[in-house]
């Protein structure tokens, strides 16, 4: 003990016997929710019809690539497995580090049991489930990534919906006029950047409250695209609103992997751009100089300023790059997937993207997972409406939204925004 400079920077880990009260609350809350789901799963398993549940593994002809399983036994097995996982979580039979996986196991078991129940005696197109998930999720991912970039830099982006609309509009018009997919995507990105520059200038330069600004920009985008649609596109749809939809490009090799290949690697360029965007945004944010600075100005702009970083400039660049992503996300609604533009066609997807980014804790991967979760739920309800389950259609329509609330309240819990998110940086 002669070295008087030794300071205690490290604390001893708590003895395993005592659990922090906050952890206990969380364990019981999450565990309780897991138990409820496990029991629902088991309950469904018990009422599952005899007979086979058939899952179609590869899109295409419904007669091929089928996997038939005895519905009830499998459901009961999954139900029990889920119950074990939930139970193990509640009584903490697995080291803390792995307990998250229990939730994943339960999730899979629950969905499996649920599908067995729903598809007993019918065919459930599993491959299409994933395909549809991706379709719903793609614009959400792009939008949420745009949000991540903005908000990591400290600028709240509620305007994703507006950026979507403008991107969709521009892509449709440019594609119709030039016939070029590349031109359309570039134009969408540029229009996204234009919208983003409004967001940037008004929030960074004119210090407008960013929440109001976002909402207003959505209104503005809906108004301006609507007005232009009314005044021009309506009248000359043939030349202005007949975009060419991107066609799927199969990636040689990867596209041939059974099951996942056709789903993941036979997609349009926009979907590949989305994959790329997730990877790039993650890498750039966390591994590059620019990313470090972006995160710094979003957390503690003054600290960044004191080390000579131009806070506003970094914010501008982040918001404008985000515009590229949001514009591309908008392009999905027209050239990326659905063709011609119609008013308000993004139908609130920008707000769902906003929710996904918060649910994903302002992390690109988290945002992607949240978007996929939402896409999965939406696609599932649509498929279930077709195969006719005892669940009323009205309830199914609400299900993705309710599921999100349950997931957020039960599993995600408290999230922490970048510290300076929404706060303009003012120097004297």
């Amino acid at each position: 003990m002669s070295d008087t400079t030794v300071q205690d920077t490290v604390r001893e880990p708590a003895p395993a016997a005592i659990e922090a009260p906050a952890d206990r609350v969380r364990r019981l809350r999450v565990g309780g929710l897991m138990l409820v789901f496990a029991l629902i799963g088991l309950g469904l398993a018990i009422v599952t019809n005899g007979g086979k549940a058939t899952f179609q593994l590869v899109s295409g002809d419904l007669q091929n690539n089928l996997l038939g399983v005895p519905a009830q036994p499998v459901a009961i097995f999954l139900g029990l497995l889920g119950l074990v996982a939930a139970g193990a979580y509640v009584v903490r039979r697995v080291p803390q580090k792995y307990s998250g996986w229990l939730a994943v196991v339960l999730g899979i078991c629950f969905i499996g049991a649920f599908l067995c129940w729903a598809a007993a005696g019918k065919t459930f197109p599993l491959a299409n489930q994933f395909q549809g998930t991706l379709n719903f999720a793609t614009p959400l991912i792009l939008g949420a990534l745009a949000g991540v970039l903005c908000e990591r830099a400290g600028v709240i982006n509620i305007a994703i919906e507006g950026q979507f609309l403008v991107g969709a509009f521009t892509a449709a018009v440019v594609s119709s006029m030039t016939g070029s997919a590349t031109a359309a995507l570039i134009a969408a990105a540029v229009s996204g950047v234009l919208m983003a520059s409004l967001l940037a200038v008004f929030s960074i330069k004119y210090l407008v409250n960013q929440v109001v600004l976002g909402v207003v920009l959505v209104v503005f985008a809906s108004g301006i695209t609507g007005y232009l649609f009314d005044q021009f596109l309506q009248e000359d749809a043939e030349n202005l609103n007949t975009p060419t939809v991107l066609s799927a490009v199969k990636i040689p090799g990867l596209g041939d992997i059974p099951f996942v290949g056709p789903i993941l690697f036979n997609q349009t360029i926009l979907v590949y751009l989305t994959y790329l965007a997730v990877a790039v945004v993650t890498f750039v944010l966390f591994q590059t100089r620019w990313g470090l600075r972006v995160r710094a100005v979003g957390e503690h702009p003054k600290a960044a300023d004191t080390v000579g970083i131009r806070v506003k400039r970094v914010r501008y660049s982040a918001v404008l790059w985000a515009g590229v992503l949001a514009g591309l996300g908008g392009a999905f609604f027209t050239v990326g997937y659905a063709g011609s533009f119609s008013k308000e066609m993004t139908a609130g997807n920008g707000f769902i993207a906003l929710a996904a980014l918060i649910m994903g804790r302002w992390h690109p991967i988290g945002a992607m997972v949240a978007a996929l979760f939402f896409g999965f739920a939406t696609q599932l309800q649509s498929q279930l409406q077709i195969i006719q389950t005892p669940i009323p259609g009205e309830l199914l329509l609400m299900a993705p939204y309710l599921a999100t609330v349950i997931a957020v309240a039960g599993l995600v819990g408290r999230v922490r925004a970048p510290k300076a998110d929404g706060e303009p940086y003012v120097t004297e």
Binding site: L207, V212, A355, E394, Y401, L402, V405, G413, P424, V426
Partner: protein, 403 residues
């Protein structure tokens, strides 16, 4: 809008100077703010004029021979803009009926705006006024048409039902936030969808369908359950309730112990917890009251203007309310003023459409641009350099997700 700045929940990062400095022009600060807001509206109208000119058929026709007769383009443009704005002004303010119409349009916007303001002052961002309004409207309408009660009592019960409906829908958000930390932005967005699907479903049930009709439309509520109207206009007592609600919110925030707690939690949750306040309870209370206010807006929709319950009952009031609230800087007085502005624009916009066939989408753009400029006094100043300087014109309600 309002000069109630000392109670702003937000502080720009650098604390404002502690001294009240007289405005450079010698004008009182509310006058300066008013002048700036007015200039913002003028600026927005200029932008709108450009759009009108671009979209106007006669102008398009005249542009075709611009080289031959440029004055035609000019006069066509001036006529198009002049007529459109004249219609806008007349539709909003030109007489008793237009004014009543503006006030009618403002009525639910004010209540919705208050719902957003109140939550905002507690550090919560309530995107869910839309859903809360819908649920309020559902319950109020149900009580209104399914029950048959004496006058006054019926109306009161229907209003209470609406308040309860909104309060429940808002309360869920507050409860989840307090208990689990679930972010209110996500929950409110999702509950908006749940509410609209719930409404659509209810409208297919016999309990809500109008007898003899298969359409998703409810009976009109009993006349006993309708807000009394002012004369022949569509303006109804609900408008007075909106003003009362604003007074109530003002009292709650500034003159009650509960409001003290809400504002404290909104401004600094940690210090509030340290001072013995229950942050969770504040969230719950704020969302319940906010929900009730949005529910009140719902009652104004179904009990006020002779409307049955349909899936369009909420229009976009819940979303416009966000703009209204924030344009009003989160204060009750500001919210009322912003609500009136929006009401006037809505009423005037309809008239502009009718008279000059200007699409409603243009009104939407105009609204957006006006708010943008009103919220950015610095921009307006840089355009109109003659405007007197005003202290603290920096951040307008700067505030993020972090409360």
């Amino acid at each position: 809008m309002s000069n109630d700045t000392t109670t702003e929940p937000a502080q720009p990062p650098a604390p404002a100077s502690p001294v009240k400095e007289p405005a450079a022009s010698g004008l009182p600060s509310w006058a300066v703010q008013g002048l700036v807001s007015l200039s913002a509206i003028v600026l927005a109208l200029v932008v709108g004029a450009i759009l009108i000119i671009v979209g106007d058929d006669e102008v398009k026709a005249a542009v075709a021979y611009f080289g031959a007769a440029p004055q035609d383009t000019l006069s066509a443009a001036l006529t198009a803009v002049g007529e459109a704005y004249k219609a806008l002004a007349v539709g909003a303010l030109g007489g008793l009926n237009p004014i009543a119409e503006s006030l009618t349009q403002a009525t639910p916007l004010i209540c919705g705006g208050l719902a957003v303001s109140l939550a905002f002052r507690t550090g919560l961002f309530n995107i869910g006024a839309q859903g809360q309004l819908i649920i309020g409207a559902i319950l109020a309408a149900y009580v209104g048409f399914a029950w048959h009660l004496p006058p006054v009592l019926h109306l009161v019960l229907a209003i209470v039902a609406g308040l309860i409906g909104g309060a429940i829908w808002g309360g869920v958000v507050g409860l989840l936030k307090a208990r689990t930390g679930a972010h209110e932005v996500i929950v409110t967005i999702m509950l908006n969808y749940v509410a609209i699907y719930l409404l659509q479903w209810l409208l297919t049930t016999t309990a809500f369908k109008r007898p003899g009709r298969e359409d998703p439309i409810s009976p009109i509520v009993d006349s006993n359950a309708q807000y009394p109207q002012f004369g022949d206009t569509r303006l109804h007592v609900g408008f007075l309730l909106s003003l009362l609600a604003a007074v109530f919110v003002w009292w709650l925030l500034n003159r009650s112990t509960i409001g003290f707690e809400l504002r404290a939690v909104g401004a600094n949750a940690d210090a509030s917890r340290t001072a013995g306040m229950s942050v969770g309870r504040a969230y719950l209370v704020a969302m319940v009251v906010a929900g009730a206010l949005a529910g009140l807006a719902g009652t104004q929709q179904v009990l006020g203007t002779d409307l049955p319950l349909t899936d369009g009952v909420a229009a976009s009031i819940g979303f416009d309310a966000i703009t209204v609230a924030l344009l009003g800087r989160g204060t009750p007085l500001g919210t009322v003023l912003a609500g009136l502005l929006f009401g006037a624009l809505n009423a005037g916009g309809l008239q502009m459409q009718l008279q000059t066939q200007t699409p409603l989408t243009l009104t939407t753009v105009l609204q957006a641009v006006i708010v943008l400029f009103v919220a950015a006094p610095a921009l307006v100043r840089s355009v109109f350099r003659f405007l007197p300087k005003e202290r603290g014109s920096g951040a307008v309600l700067a505030k993020g997700w972090n409360g």
